[in-house]
C-alpha cells in the first residue's frame, strides 16, 4: 500500500468520524451554550462606601438597548418582581425589561440587569433570540436619558433555572451589564437554563 493510499484511508476515517459527530450533535439540539470569558466581580459594596459619589452621576433608567452584531435595537421597560419571585419580563418579546432594583447605566458601581425573551409561544423569536451567539468583545449600547453608555461583552454563562447566582442581583460591585434570556433544552413550556452575557463599560 502506498503512502498516498494510507493517507487517503486516514482522511476517510477522520472525515467519517467528524460527520458522525456532527450528526450526533444535530440530534441533540437545545444544549445550553458553553461558558466563556471571565465574569466581572460583583462584590457587595463596603458599608463604609459613601452613599453618593462626589461627582454627580447620570442616574437615569435605561430606555433602549442596541446590539449591533445581532441587529437588535429594543426598547426597555422598568420592571419589578412578581410575588413568587420571578422577574416581570415584558410580554411583548420585542421589548426588554430592566429590573428596577438594579443599577442604572453609567453608575459607578453595580449590575445593570436587563432581561428579554428568547422567544414566546405566541409571537416567536424575541429580541434576545440570538444572544447566546453574541461573541465576546461585541459592543452593546444602552441609552439612558440623554446618554448612551457603551459596554463590551466579556463573558457568557449558562445557569440552570432557579440557580441564578445571587451576585447577579447584589448591590454594588464592579459596574457591569448583565443581559439575561433563556436557553438549553425545552420541556413543558419552559427552558432548562438562563443564558447570561456579561459586559463591562467600554471605557473601563
Amino acid at each position: 500500500m502506498t503512502r498516498r493510499r494510507t493517507a487517503g484511508w486516514a482522511a476517510l476515517a477522520a472525515g467519517l468520524s467528524a460527520s458522525v459527530a456532527g450528526v450526533a450533535l444535530l440530534l441533540q439540539p437545545g444544549r445550553p451554550p458553553a461558558d466563556e470569558g471571565s465574569v466581572p466581580v460583583a462584590a457587595v459594596a463596603s458599608p463604609s462606601a459613601p452613599l453618593v459619589d462626589a461627582a454627580p452621576q447620570p442616574w437615569a433608567p435605561p430606555t433602549r438597548v442596541t446590539i449591533g452584531a445581532l441587529k437588535v435595537d429594543a426598547p426597555v421597560d422598568a420592571v419589578g418582581v412578581e410575588p413568587g419571585g420571578a422577574l416581570v419580563v415584558p410580554e411583548n418579546p420585542a421589548r426588554l425589561g430592566w429590573w428596577i432594583g438594579s443599577a442604572t447605566p453609567g453608575s459607578p458601581r453595580g449590575t445593570v440587569v436587563v432581561a428579554g425573551h428568547v422567544d414566546t409561544a405566541a409571537d416567536g423569536p424575541g429580541a434576545l433570540f440570538r444572544l447566546e451567539t453574541l461573541p465576546l468583545g461585541a459592543t452593546v449600547q444602552v441609552r439612558a436619558g440623554d446618554r448612551v453608555v457603551t459596554y463590551r461583552t466579556v463573558a457568557r454563562r449558562s445557569y440552570a433555572k432557579e440557580r441564578l447566582p445571587a451576585d447577579l442581583f447584589a448591590a454594588g460591585g464592579a459596574p457591569r451589564l448583565a443581559l439575561v434570556t433563556c436557553g438549553g433544552t425545552f420541556h413543558n413550556g419552559v427552558y432548562s437554563h438562563n443564558v447570561v452575557v456579561y459586559a463591562e463599560p467600554a471605557s473601563a
Binding site: G15, L25, P56, G101, A144
Partner: protein, 93 residues
C-alpha cells in the same frame, strides 16, 4: 428618575448659570433619593428566577456553529480521501 435626567441635562447643556448651579447642588440629594428608591425596590424582593422563553424555538436550532463546523470538516476530509484514494488514470490521446 426623570428629575435626575433633567438635572443632568441642565448641568451638561444648560445655559443659565444659576439653573446649572441649582441642578448641580440638587444632584447629590436626588441621587440619595435614588439610592432610597433602589433600596425600596429591593425590599419588594430580589428576583429568584427569570422566565424569558415559552416558544421552544431556541431549543430547536439544529445547525449551530459546532454542527456546521463538524460537517464542514467532515466534507473536507472526505473530499481529500476521495482524491487520495482515486486511482490515477492515464489519459490516452
Amino acid at each position: 428618575m426623570k428629575a435626575m435626567a433633567l438635572g443632568q441635562k441642565e448641568i451638561s447643556q444648560g445655559s443659565d448659570d444659576a439653573a446649572q448651579k441649582a441642578a448641580r447642588d440638587a444632584a447629590p440629594v436626588i441621587a440619595s433619593h435614588h439610592e432610597l428608591l433602589d433600596d425600596a425596590a429591593r425590599s419588594l424582593g430580589v428576583p429568584s428566577s427569570i422566565g424569558t422563553g415559552t416558544g421552544g424555538e431556541a431549543a430547536a436550532r439544529p445547525f449551530t456553529a459546532p454542527v456546521i463546523g463538524l460537517f464542514s470538516l467532515g466534507a473536507l476530509l472526505l473530499a481529500a480521501a476521495a482524491v487520495l484514494l482515486m486511482r490515477r488514470r492515464t489519459v490516452r490521446a
